[in-house]
Amino acid sequence: MLVVLFPVLFIVQMSVRSGLEAFRMPPTLVFSPTLQNYIDLLEGKFVRSLTNSTVTATSTTVLALLLGVPTAYAFSRARVRAQGLLSLWTLTTRMAPPIAFGIPFFLIYKDLGLIDTRVGLVVIYLTFNLSLVIWMMRAFFDGVPRSLEEAAYIDGAGVTSAFLRIALPLSAPGLATTAIFTFLFAWNDFFYSLLLTRSEAVTAPVAIVNFMNYESWEWGKVAAAATMIMLPVVALSVVVRKYLIRGLTAGAVKG
């Protein structure tokens, strides 16, 4: 367990040491922690990329849920022959390296003027998040008993209102889990942001690499930035840890 966590703890402790002290060998166990690295970061351009990351990840989550949740519900409640096709397609898109989508999107965005925009990122994140939402939410809807909705039909409720008033609230935990996954996948993205942004819409993971390259290897700041982008991820994934495998193997394992 120590071996597993050591690298993470190493970078966290590095982020609270001052410039030179981080690399004094042998390493001192006792040191006076400083938040200077974080303060420097928050006064610099890094804030903007954090905002970009938050905005794009949140928007793609909302969009993927709006589009995907009703589909997942229909797939769960009706026999749809396209479901096998969707499963196969989800796996196929999962197999494709990001650059397979990166190239066509890059060319299209160049023509449309969508390079270096948050909108562009939000749209390309749908390539993996939309099928993920459909896949995960269908499993959650399968777990909601139909009898309640059918009772509502008999009482005269329409299909849409049975979905909105009964199935949706009952699968709220699943909805939250799915939302966290789509958020995390978008938040963790590196390749698309590297390819499709330049300066305005740069997200945090790419921003770190940029200042690693241009600001003369300020390791303390790099460590602080890395800590900042991994904190929400670690916190959120502890919440959804039961469903991690289902999220990571969308298309194959029903979990």
Binding site: M1, P7, F101, I103, L107, F191, L195
Partner: protein
Amino acid sequence: MDRIEATSDRALPWPAARPARRSWTRTRRRVFVGFVTPAVVVLVLVTVLPLLYLVVTSFTPLDLTNPSSRRWAGLTNYRQLAADGRFWNSVWVQAQLSFWTVSLQMVVGFAIALLLNGRLRFLELVRAAFIIPMVLPPVVVALIWKILFTPDISILDWSLGLLGLPQPAWLADPKLALWAVIVADVWEWFPFVMLMLLAALQMLPSEPLEAARLDGASRWQAFRYVILPLLKPALVVATLFRLIDSVKAFPHIFIMTGGGPGTATEVTNFYAYLQGFSYTYVGYSSAIIVVMLLATFAMSLGVLRVAGREHDVE
């Protein structure tokens, strides 16, 4: 959207007196079509069309610096690819990377899953800690290991020196750079294998194991002839996903080695990136990716065929 049929078999028995049933079923179907259509349209727009565009681009000599290069060139790119030594080198690097990362992840993940297979509260906690590497942003993983593998600033380097062992410049040594990447990748993803196998282990039926014990099977025999066959589906799926992801390796290579030194860690994916976006030969880059996609697809089918249990993956 004629593919959608509302369930009649799964629904509760309907009050027979209801005459409107047929039209109601039709209404329900229409609502469901409305639910499904937007997502399907968007999915086709953002995944199917771009992949088609990729294939089309792979038949052109498209160069980003030369707008007039959007023209049909037939199989030129593919012919060039077959004779491209650097491409074949990248395939070889990729094969080594995939082989070592997947096998090490399977071995380490399986071993730790067996160790942690219990219901103690403490084990629960340990398992929660183990998920951290795989959920971290890949960039952070790559940065951590870049720092750990950089001489002078790394505690790893210092510890090796303390033990009197050589302190190689991992990332600058053509022989060791790939291993540095492999270590980082194994660290990041063995928990995935571990989690999948733990879930499978905990769902094992207890009867076969008890029967084997009653028949006097040793622990090893019980493991080899009872547990292993029962875990096979989980092992196959875990291998398949690790294999697919190993082909997608990018951030680690980009950040830790940049494909170097020389082309020592230049996997196919990364080579395609360089061709497309450093050298601006997007057409050629697309051809590399199309070949890669086909190969990944064939490889996945191969794994399933060898495993002989296609129904495990739906």
